[in-house]
């Protein structure tokens, strides 16, 4: 199924969770925060939050800034 991640389309498996998405993106070890359809998904709920067709996901991290 297709979802939007950081503005781009991405194909993920039917029934995938947020944790599966993070793994698929190769970000398993990184400190990131996830927003799903404008709601924060706390890290503790990544594994049991399922994604649906057309979901809009933002994955962010900290970079240098003033």
């Amino acid at each position: 199924m297709l979802i939007q991640v950081n503005g781009d389309s991405l194909d993920v498996q039917e029934g995938a969770s947020v944790a599966d998405l993070i793994e698929q993106l190769g970000l398993g070890e990184r400190r990131v925060a996830v927003e799903l359809n404008l709601e924060i998904v706390p890290r503790s709920r990544h594994a049991n939050t399922k994604l649906s067709e057309g979901d809009r996901v933002e994955v962010v991290h900290a970079i240098g800034g003033g």
Binding site: N6, V60, G65
Partner: protein, 265 residues
């Protein structure tokens, strides 16, 4: 000396020894960032929150591996946000990113050319964020009425600009900053505009509680040396403020006694 040693900066109930807050943008690489922060003595360090580049090498070093949240108080900012909604979303993401740490630097900008704060959107965002439990340090214009409004909403620190972000033009309206300091009970910090050490010292001599800067250090020919200069300037300025400057006089007042001088005639 004891007065200086027992003079912490207190923000949202937390106590800090350093009155220099620095940003982590515009450095050549993470190593230069780390060395400059160390030389500055800063304890509060700002970071930006951005979309993770999905194509990037997962082994690439991460800012928070270099600037550890165990060692520094990380202050996520909302730089790059031009409306309240984006700033609020960014703060929510930052809180999740930092495991519930709720101290944020709110900045909502007006346009790309000036990066001047959009105070209307800033006030909207501050209201929502404070109600949601965030400790909001707010970047704003040097307008005393807006500063007072932000304080009454519950912001933990008011941070007027000295001059435009990244301009290095110094503190262009010290009179307004003085009025803001008179009116606000929460710490007033100068954020943005400081270009060199004397300007940082000037802000502290005026009685600002601290100074937040990024470009002045990152944009120096030798950022580590400028970080060290800023550390000293902030300390010198604070001590001069606490010491209380001598009154200005219209005419000279001799430092050496006038009695007993040799006189030819």
């Amino acid at each position: 000396m004891s007065e200086q040693q027992n003079d912490p900066l207190i923000i949202a109930g937390r106590s800090f020894q350093s009155r220099l807050l620095i940003g982590t943008g515009k450095y050549r690489d993470l190593e230069e960032t780390r060395l400059a922060i160390e030389a500055s003595g800063a304890e509060i360090v700002t970071v930006a929150v951005r979309r993770t580049n999905l194509g990037q090498n997962p082994d690439e070093p991460n800012l928070l591996d270099v600037i550890s949240p165990d060692k520094y108080t990380i202050l996520p900012n909302t730089a790059g946000c031009f409306n309240a909604e984006d700033a609020i979303r960014t703060c929510m993401l930052a809180r999740e990113l930092m495991d519930g740490h709720d101290l944020v630097k709110l900045e909502v900008l007006g346009d790309q050319k000036t990066l001047y704060p959009n105070v209307v959107e800033t006030i909207k965002a501050a209201d929502v964020l404070v109600r949601d439990g965030f400790k909001v340090m707010v970047y704003t214009s040097d307008d005393p009425i807006v500063a007072k409004e932000l304080e009454s909403l519950g912001c933990v620190s008011i941070m007027p600009l000295g001059s435009m972000i990244g301009s290095g033009l110094g503190i262009l309206n010290p009179h307004n900053i003085n009025v803001i300091m008179e009116d606000c009970k929460v710490p007033v910090l100068v954020d943005a505009g400081v270009g060199t050490a004397s300007e940082a010292a000037f802000a502290m001599e005026m009685g600002c509680e601290a100074v937040l800067m990024n470009s002045a250090i990152a944009g120096a020919r030798n950022p580590m040396l400028m970080a060290s200069a800023m550390r000293k300037a902030i300390e010198a300025g604070r001590e001069a403020y606490l010491a209380g400057r001598m009154p200005r006089k219209k005419y000279a007042s001799a430092s050496s006694p006038m009695e007993g001088t040799i006189v030819s005639k």
